[in-house]
């Protein structure tokens, strides 16, 4: 045990002390969030303005087109010759112009002449604005009162009420969907990232021939377990850092970027606008999720899944002797279930009680990913307690089996040089006696 700890310590320190560790741990999320923030920022505060001149000889628009966005302005001018407009468009003084000839009716086509290329989003905005204006004018002409029309057009709200869970609002379903996908993707990445990290570590030890010296001091199994635990500890540390970073960012960055959002939460949605109410709903739904359960399950499935895949990856790492190239063919059968788990997960968030979702969340090679997507939708709504218990038992049962299996292969493989073994040979190593 003490020796496993020595190996663990070396694995842990040699990774954490590297400069790249800090870079990846802090840099990666900052980079990802930075890119998202930048995309968000620029799409909100787009600087390009489109100016459209309207010569409405027929008086069709009655001198207004309600601008639905600040980016598009409509300037009504009368008595400007179309040749002059064309000149202005060519010199890019304006982006485009509309000429409505005398005698045009509300049903006629509108021609917009542009001097520059107009993006598809802006085209949509302009089309919507013009159509809305024309629709309004057409409705005004109808012999029906505005109030009646408004009433007829009003949407009916559909509320879903779950008799087992009063908190199960539509908003909450959406939010738990999001959290489920997020957790599933996180575990998916963890399995691939740290699993291959274990594989590379084992391969490095074998190729550099240090393994033979180490196994003359300790058992191969101790070396393998030390490595798996050490890299697992690095993963846990990374998660702690990310959680701290995440909380920090939430507390510091959100008030800076979206001052109105935090204000809204503080005063409690006042229903001034639809988006504010939505925001408050999201916040409420977020706080109604059973965090202790989800976080516990996250760590259970993170550790269980990691141990299963880490030992499989370790078995592969010790079977190849020429580095990456050789490993490629052998890794596929191991990475495949991870990818299948991911696919099932995407199905399971939509329909958490379907047969496929139940199977995926019980089968130990996919359960870490799939079950996370189901658990976030509520226990016992989406997952019954016995399913959860069975899944965890299966997970840890197969973790013991894969570790045993990998330990056997490791013992033989770590000192075996020469040609790449086939799967048949690997099984032979696993099942022969010492």
């Amino acid at each position: 045990m003490n020796k496993i700890f020595l190996v663990l310590k070396r694995e842990f320190l040699s990774r954490v002390q590297k400069k790249t560790f800090l870079l990846v741990t802090i840099g990666l999320p900052v980079l990802i969030f930075g890119i998202y923030a930048a995309i968000f920022y620029f799409s909100v505060n787009s600087s390009s303005k489109t100016k459209i001149m309207v010569v409405d000889d027929a008086g069709l628009f009655k001198d207004t087109i309600a601008a639905s966005s600040k980016d598009v302005t409509y300037v009504f001018t009368n008595g400007v010759a179309s040749s002059e407009l064309e000149q202005k468009a060519k010199s890019k003084e304006i982006d485009g112009y509309i000429v409505v000839p005398k005698g045009a009716s509300l049903d006629d086509k509108i021609n917009l002449v542009t001097g520059t290329k107009i993006g598809i989003m802006t085209r949509g905005t302009i089309t919507d604005a013009i159509q809305a204006r024309l629709e309004k004018l057409k409705m005004d002409a109808l012999p029906v009162s505005q109030d009646l029309l408004k009433k007829a057009k009003a949407e009916n709200k559909v509320d879903f009420v779950n008799i087992n869970d009063k908190n199960d609002s539509g908003m909450r379903a959406g939010v738990s969907y999001g959290v489920g996908v997020f957790c599933g993707i996180l575990i998916y990445m963890v399995l691939l990232l740290y699993g291959t990290s274990v594989m590379r570590g084992v391969m490095e030890e074998k190729v550099s021939r240090i393994a033979e010296i180490v196994v003359s001091s300790i058992k191969p199994f101790q070396l393998m377990m030390g490595k798996i635990l050490g890299i697992g500890a690095v993963g846990l540390l990374q998660f702690v850092i990310w959680i701290v970073l995440g909380v920090g960012l939430r507390l510091i960055l959100i008030p800076i970027l979206f001052p109105e959002a935090s204000h809204m939460v503080a005063t409690g949605a006042m229903g001034a606008g639809g988006s504010a109410a939505d925001m408050a709903g999201v916040m409420q739904a977020l706080s109604s999720i059973n965090y202790p359960l989800i976080i516990t399950m996250f760590f259970v499935y993170f550790l269980g899944g990691y141990f299963i895949y880490a030992s499989l990856f370790a078995a592969i790492g010790c079977s190849v002797s020429d580095g990456q190239q050789d490993a490629q063919g052998l890794t596929l059968p191991v990475t495949l279930p991870i990818i299948i788990g991911f696919v099932i997960m995407m199905q399971a968030v939509n329909d958490p009680t379907s047969g496929l979702a139940v199977f995926g969340s019980l089968f130990p090679l996919t359960s870490p990913i799939v079950m996370m997507a189901r658990v976030t939708q509520g226990v016992p709504d989406a997952v019954s307690w016995w399913e959860l218990a069975l899944s965890i038992v299966l997970l840890f049962g197969s973790f013991i089996i894969t570790t045993w299996f990998a330990g056997k292969i490791y013992r033989t493989g770590i000192l075996m040089y020469g040609k790449k073994p086939t799967w048949k040979e690997l099984f032979k190593w696993a099942f022969r006696k010492n």
Binding site: I213, V214, S216, L415, G418, K419
Partner: protein
């Protein structure tokens, strides 16, 4: 009492017998040479002695008791032929890690590392990484790591490969000193001249089987061809023969003769003395281990075994 005793050790792989019924014993304080061509089964044998492999059959007795890999490997130091170190790890940390795996406590390990680094003039290496070392330097580090925990049994697989003569001598002196202090050393190689120089006793392995073992001197005696080298004060007629010897080779006043059965070296001397020919040099030619090695191994399919499948 022998420190290590192997009896009827066997290790079979799927396609071949890597070690096939090997027995020998090693006395404490000895330098024991394990010889054999490539693929003879030396490494497999050593891996069984270091507890990496379990033998299929046979027993290993270490220090009077049945070999118990889990505890006994703490008292064994093994330097494999394929040297390996963590490339990105600092030399000092590396030595510390491997010493602690052998069961030394932190302060104990530190004291031992300092002692050996000083001895082999490696103090300034502490913060260097292995990838910055030359091959000879990492060889020295490897040796230090092997003997750091003062093992009773030290196993060195080709310890001098890649070392320049100065460093090879440095290591050789350490080996002698360790043996004098009571450590037993197993020294595996196929370089015979080193064995003759260093080892007290040897075992020759070929095709997984022990071909011969014993003291170096005894073996050379056993395989001698009764040849003598003689230098006389004058040239004598070519092809001189007598009832005592027959000439094998003659060049000027030097000659090599084979003594006839039942005769001794004194009979040859007497033959020349009787003729009043002065003998300036007279000595028996013992075969070198290299010659014995080649004679025993030659003709077997030793080479093909180096490419084994398992």
């Amino acid at each position: 009492m022998a420190i290590l005793e192997l009896s009827h050790l066997k290790k079979y792989y799927a396609t071949q017998k890597a070690v096939d019924d090997v027995s020998f014993s090693i006395e404490p304080g000895q330098i024991f040479g394990l010889l054999g061509p490539n693929g003879a089964g030396k490494t497999t044998l050593l891996r069984m002695i270091t507890g990496i492999f379990y033998p299929d059959e046979g027993t290993i007795t270490f220090d009077g008791k049945k070999f118990d890999p889990e505890n006994d490997i703490q008292r064994i130091g093994y330097m494999p032929e394929e040297r390996g170190l963590y490339k990105k790890m600092k030399i000092g940390d590396q030595a510390m890690f491997l010493a602690r795996l052998k069961g030394l406590s932190q302060p104990e390990a530190m004291a031992k590392i300092k002692y050996w680094f000083e001895r082999l003039e490696m103090q300034s290496w502490w913060d260097k990484k292995v990838e910055d070392l030359s091959k000879g330097m990492s060889q020295k580090l490897q040796f230090v790591i092997t003997v750091l925990h003062e093992p009773k049994l030290i196993i060195l697989d080709e310890p001098f490969s890649g070392l320049d003569p100065v460093n090879a001598n440095l290591i050789k002196d350490q080996i002698f000193e360790l043996a004098q202090k009571g450590s037993t050393i197993i020294f595996s190689t196929h370089r015979m001249e080193q064995v003759e120089e260093i080892c007290d006793q040897i075992a020759l392995i070929n095709l997984g089987k022990k071909v011969l073992d014993g003291k170096v001197e005894d073996i050379r005696q056993q395989y001698k061809e009764h040849l003598y080298e003689i230098k006389l004060d004058r040239e004598i007629a070519a092809g001189a023969t007598s009832s005592v010897f027959e000439t094998v080779n003659q060049a000027g006043n030097k000659m090599i003769v084979r003594i006839n059965e039942g005769r001794t070296g004194n009979d040859i001397l007497r033959y020349f003395l009787d003729q009043n020919i002065e003998v300036q040099h007279f000595g028996e030619i013992l075969p070198s281990l290299n010659e014995i090695f080649i004679r025993l191994v030659h003709g077997t399919n030793a080479v093909t075994r180096s490419f084994h499948n398992i």
